[in-house]
Amino acid sequence: MKEIILAKVGETALKGLNRKVFEDMLIKNIRRKIHTLGRFEVVSSQSTIRITPLDDDIDMDDTAEAVGKVFGIVAYSRACIAPKELEEIKKCAAEYLADIFEENVSFKVESKRSDKKFPYGSPEISKQVGSFLADTFPNITVDVHNPDYTVTVEVRDYAAYIHASVVEGAGGLPVGSGGKAAILISGGIDSPVAAYMMAKRGVELTAIHFASPPYTSERAEEKVKTLLELVSEYSGRMNMYTVPFTKIQEEIQKSCPEELFTIIMRRLMMKISDRIAVQNGCQALITGESLGQVASQTIGALACTDEVADMPVFRPLIGMDKKEIIAIAHKINTFETSCLPFEDCCTVFTPRHPRTRPKLDFVRRAEAEVDWENMINEAIENVKVTKIGE
């Protein structure tokens, strides 16, 4: 039985004159997401996107799972296609729903007739299909108030569609509609979640990772790649820029006061990220910081690091508890990878007593002891690019 997917767009439909731009972007993203599964027709009509498989051997479970990861879709249904004849609609509905209607369940039928040339009105379609189903399956009962299943019959331009459940989509806005930003990612639990959250608001991602071999290992970098691959299931492909950071970290260790190691390190990371981001067309930076989680994430410390960035720094996790962050990490499947025990650039050189309320003047003065410019330029020149999600 031929199945299609009907995807409902959310906020996208509210975008007034820009609606077409958003919708085209969403269709392009859907196509890109499912093209490896086979050939499809993806078209939009009446604020629904219709995804029709063109090959016989396309796996619709896989397709549904993939569609569920595309931002900009609030809900979707898998539906069967029936010819626009009432008898055919009844027959198809019974065949399509046979599996779930074997059990003792309650149901109701709702119909939408957008093709007004169809000879039966919506209430009549519901009534006829409903009584046919009730006759066919002895175990089911009608319940118009709290049914287990709402069978929806949509009579549209070219065919009728029948489905019994609506699944929540990924929500948000189509990736690309919200500009481009760079996520600073270390390999912990927070940054992949932050990346996912901004992608959800339509932001196209670029990733920046700082590596300090031999203090950090190649496995740590591989872990970050794995995390980004998982995020790219939602955000689409991106570039990862790995910055060689050893020399700078060693210099901080040598020349700066211990209690300021972390804050100076983060300022330098921010400075470097800002430049890489500009070079790659980004308009903002993203970090996974959550207020007060660690010493470098106090208001004072964040103010100190923000000062060196010219572009806005987005921190989608700023008001979230660790528990809430972990829940999202589980949902996007990054939690287990994040917990792999490798040293990252933030955990090496940690001061014993980091300053939680750093004074900007003081930090600036301590930083000025060293000429960082050459080292920053050298690091940026030696950045390694890796393609993620190809």
Partner: protein
């Protein structure tokens, strides 16, 4: 020229698998658990293979555990699941037509006090949903049923089992031995609701000595082996890097399953047509079986006699069921075949490399065998 039509016993390793193994043996000698680069290179290689297998199964990489083959994977699944759940119940439901690595593991568990039900195949060599539904009760902790039978190619109703377990409120894990199906038809544990699923390398043109067990995320089973952190402690021991990589390469090289299937269907039909033209040859495989396997009888000539006769002509096939030497096949008996037909059963099994000309030559010598060999009474 030799003609090999015993691909359900094992397949010839493909060039891609051999090349990969040679490369890994020579160049990637590290221990994947070592922290240094040499170790990391080995880890990367097995991770890549794991990804390939996971993708084919529609699973996550951390759901795949490499083992020394199908037998170890089946033992791990059966003992691991039964022992992990022995406090919740004591019944195990399986079939009489399982591969011996499941069958005999269940026999051992029966000796250790489990109440094991071996479902006997009904007409057509298959197990019915009703049988399963009757056997799986609230005390059942494990259901182990194979996807495709190795003797006849019969497809068992594995897609119904998860539903029955749920309906009958059984606290059971569902294990599926998919060794004969993997690489030939889509095998998706999440789709059939399997918690555990076995696949093997050497049936898909990979090396012998390696297989994999799919363990659904969140499913706990007791390990068979102890001593090491590898593979989440479910299967400790330094991974067989070259074999695993060969397995991965073979899996990557399967090609389009639907295209292969078209070709095999054609071969199967051609074989049925050609071989039934020989006096005394009967087809045993039912019409809806996996076309990669064709079970026939050359009535009047004992299986082994015909097998050795064909062998002398460099044609290699198997007697009715390679694993049940000497024993009368349950499957064939259940299909209502008479003794003469069971005694003379032969299994022809194809691979994507099989040719029509192979069948012509097989037919030629099968006919010669039928004409010249002394028929038993």
């Amino acid at each position: 020229m030799e003609i090999y039509l015993d691909n359900s016993a094992t397949t010839k390793p493909c060039k891609e698998a051999i090349d990969k193994m040679m490369f890994v043996l020579e160049n990637v000698y590290g221990n994947p658990s070592s922290l240094h680069k040499v170790g990391f290179e080995a880890e990367k290689e097995i991770t890549y293979a794991r990804k390939t297998i996971a993708k084919l199964l529609g699973a996550d990489t951390d759901e795949i555990i490499f083992t020394s083959g199908g037998t170890e994977a089946n033992n791990t699944a059966v003992f691991g699941a039964a022992l992990a759940r022995q406090k919740t119940g004591s019944r195990i439901v399986t079939t009489a037509v399982e591969h011996s690595s499941v069958y005999e593991s269940c026999q051992e568990l029966s000796r250790r006090g489990f109440d094991v039900v071996f479902l006997e195949p009904q007409s057509g060599g298959n197990i019915s949903e009703e049988q399963l539904s009757e056997a799986i009760d609230g005390n059942t902790v494990l259901v182990s049923v194979m996807m495709v039978n190795n003797e006849t190619g019969v497809k068992l109703p594995v897609d119904k089992i998860a539903k029955i377990i749920k309906k009958n409120n059984a606290p059971a894990l569902f294990h599926c031995d998919a060794v004969q199906a993997f690489g030939k038809i889509p095998v998706r544990p999440s789709k059939i609701g399997a918690d555990l699923l076995t696949v093997s390398s050497h049936k898909i043109h990979g090396p012998k000595g390696v297989g994999a067990l799919y363990i659904k995320k969140g499913t706990y089973i007791k390990p068979l082996l102890y001593g090491g952190e590898q593979q989440r402690k479910i299967r400790p021991g330094t991974e067989a890097v070259p074999l695993i990589c060969g397995f991965g390469a073979a899996a990557e090289n399967i090609g389009s399953m639907s295209e292969n299937m078209e070709k095999i269907k054609e071969l199967h039909n051609y074989a049925v047509e050609t071989l039934t033209g020989i006096d005394g040859v009967e087809i045993n495989s039912p019409g809806d079986c996996l076309p990669y396997i064709l079970n026939i009888s050359a009535v009047g000539v004992r299986s082994e006699t015909m097998l050795h006769f064909l062998e002398s002509r460099e044609i290699y096939i198997s007697s009715g069921s390679a694993c049940a030497k000497g024993k009368k096949s349950h499957v064939l008996t259940s299909m209502g075949l008479d003794a003469a037909r069971i005694d003379s059963a032969l299994r022809i099994s194809f691979s994507k490399n099989s040719q029509k000309s192979d069948i012509d030559i097989l037919a030629q010598y099968l006919r010669e065998g039928m004409d010249t060999l002394v028929h038993s009474k």
